[in-house]
């Protein structure tokens, strides 16, 4: 009994000191200067732009990675081919590689000094230090989530429902739309939530690729750092608060969408 209690205290204590207290401080400190100051900080044009840019980029990254994710899951679960293991391994890379390295990688490919970058610049397309670069970086870092969440669900439902649909006259497309997609929707939903959270929270890769131009290529996370460096503490805390609120909503959403599991 004592053992159980002390374990509980240790575990909860660790969590409180490392996680709960620090994050709560943001809520406390942000409103330390009063709601008025917070509101002022929120409606700063740079802050609003950062928020808008973050959401815009996240939506695009989520859309692209969802379509890719479902397709990739179908390929990995329903097909057999040499190199499947390699494909699987590549999918893990975005989670194992440092965001700074990812930013550098994109900079090298699409930077103005590279052949690709120069060629694109001539066509009037700018990737680095511009929104498209941020989008590419965000896609990279949030790539695996939908795939990884859909794969087990797809594996579990098996192919029989799809076979039944084909004997009933459904074409491949109809089968996918009417039978497969609805069956995997819990995995897709959960994957989308995870992708969204990762996309919104990205910092390192975007730091490198965006050039951090205020009001132009600053995402909300970058705004947190830049306002900190400028000693705009209220702005910094406010942006952090917004991000923390988004994170907590994400947690709530993951609870709702997670394919039935117990803890």
């Amino acid at each position: 009994m004592i053992a159980r209690l002390s374990l509980r205290v240790l575990a909860l204590g660790y969590l409180a000191l490392l996680l709960v207290f620090p994050v709560s401080m943001i809520f406390v400190r942000t409103f330390g200067n009063g709601i008025g100051a917070v509101w002022e900080a929120v409606i700063q044009p740079d802050a609003l732009h950062a928020l808008w840019l973050t959401l815009f980029v996240a939506v695009i990254a989520v859309s692209a990675n969802t379509v890719f994710g479902i397709a990739c899951a179908m390929v990995l679960v329903r097909q057999n081919f040499r190199g499947k293991a390699v494909l699987n391994a590549i999918l893990d890379l975005p989670l194992a590689v440092s965001p700074v390295v990812i930013g550098l990688a994109l900079l090298l490919i699409y930077g103005l000094t590279s052949p690709v970058g120069a060629w694109l610049a001539e066509a009037g397309i700018r990737i680095v230090f511009s929104t498209p670069g941020i989008i590419l970086a965000t896609i990279f870092v949030s790539l695996p989530f939908v795939v990884r969440e859909v794969m087990p669900v797809l594996r579990e439902i098996g192919t029989e429902q799809e076979q039944a649909a084909s004997t009933l006259g459904a074409s491949s497309l109809q089968t996918f739309r009417l039978v497969t997609l609805p069956a995997i929707r819990s995995g897709v939903a959960y994957g989308i939530v995870l992708t969204m959270a990762r996309a919104i929270g990205e910092f390192g890769a975007v730091s490198i690729i965006s050039g951090k131009l205020s009001g132009r290529t600053e995402t909300l996370t970058i705004y947190v750092e830049s306002s900190f460096q400028r000693f705009d503490i209220v702005g910094c805390y406010t942006a952090s608060l917004i991000l923390a609120l988004i994170a907590i909503s994400t947690l709530l959403l993951t609870n709702l969408t997670k394919p039935k599991e117990e803890y």
Partner: protein, 327 residues
């Protein structure tokens, strides 16, 4: 609307699932593909449905060569062992699926689906989800779903394999009655010889990817073409080269010229029948099946000496109506 499989072969890697198999299911019949696991019966069914591609051979459905057609176009209804219910759709939507694909008007779909649900006795369940149904109910729904599109043939892959013994019995009888009503050419795959005997007009017995024998249940039971058929289709005693059905072993109290002596080892009471386990003088064992009455009249008990004679027996090659050597 008969089905013909002509010289179908299929291998999976090194494993030969079907070896030059030819089978016919006449229009309106209920044919069982019977055999142990690995005999190729499910593979053959799936080839007929278009769910597997044969390495060689043709499939004719209603005299049309459908070998190259995808399952969508073959006009087959398929029922799976584990139901393959569309879990996210209601019973109604499941059954309506094929009709919806064919873009039937809503009113027609509603009418057809309700008629079908009545046919399979699931009238009240239209708005339930498959997870709320029992196994037997799910399978009836699957049947209704397959029948909704008026298939030319109905293919059932071990449809009762996942169900309890009692539900299996009920559904077997129910399927037989259904077939008598609607007469769709049906092929049923099963490993359960009792099921095949009870339900089918014709049985195709398969083993190791080939056909052992085709015939009606009585044929297979009384005139088995091989040792495998005889052992598979009913209980059998094997004494050297001779095969005897337990109910063809007659037990008498006194010897006459043509009997052999045996000792009763053990009696097993199986309700109406009694299984009598015996050992012959030469040490070989066999068992006989007698009625309760006979067991009582003969006063059978362990240790008793009796005299047995075989009414029929078979040696493959020729048939003899003979008995064991004299004791």
């Amino acid at each position: 609307m008969g089905i013909t499989a002509h010289r179908v072969s299929k291998r999976f890697g090194d494993f030969v699932a079907l070896d030059d198999v030819s089978v016919e299911a006449p229009t309106g019949s209920l044919t069982a593909l019977l055999g142990p696991s690995g005999s190729g019966k499910s593979t053959l069914l799936r080839v007929i449905a278009g769910l597997e591609r044969p390495d060689s051979g043709e499939i004719f459905i209603a005299d049309e060569d459908k070998t190259r057609m995808p399952p969508q176009k073959r006009g087959v209804g398929f029922v799976f062992q584990h139901y393959a219910a569309f879990k996210h759709m209601t019973v109604f939507e499941n059954v309506a699926f094929g009709l919806k694909i064919r873009k039937y008007p809503k009113a027609v779909i509603r009418k057809d689906v309700h008629e079908l649900l009545e046919l399979v006795q699931l009238e009240g369940f239209a708005n339930r989800y498959p997870s709320q149904l029992s196994g037997g109910q799910r399978q009836r729904m699957a049947l209704a779903r397959a029948l909704a599109v008026e298939p030319e043939v109905l293919l059932l892959d071990e449809p009762f394999g996942a169900l309890d013994a009692r539900v299996r019995q009920e559904l077997r009888a129910w399927l037989r009655r259904l077939h008598d009503d609607i007469h769709v050419t049906t092929i049923l795959v099963t490993h359960d010889q009792e099921e095949a005997m009870e339900v089918a007009d014709r049985i195709v017995l398969m083993n190791h990817g080939t056909i052992e024998q085709v015939g009606d249940p009585q044929d297979l039971y009384e005139h088995p073409a091989s040792e495998f058929v005889m052992s598979f289709v009913g209980p059998v005693n094997r004494l050297g080269d001779t095969f005897v059905r337990p109910h063809d072993v007659e037990i008498q109290l006194h010897s006459n010229g043509s009997t052999s002596e045996a000792v009763v080892d053990h009696l097993v009471y199986l309700g109406f029948e009694v299984r009598v386990e015996l050992t012959l003088n030469d040490g070989r064992g066999l068992w006989a099946q007698v009625t309760r009455e006979d067991a009582r009249q003969l006063e059978l008990e362990p240790g008793k000496i009796v005299h047995v004679r075989m009414v029929h027996s078979k040696v493959f090659g020729e048939q003899r109506k003979s008995s064991l050597p004299h004791s």
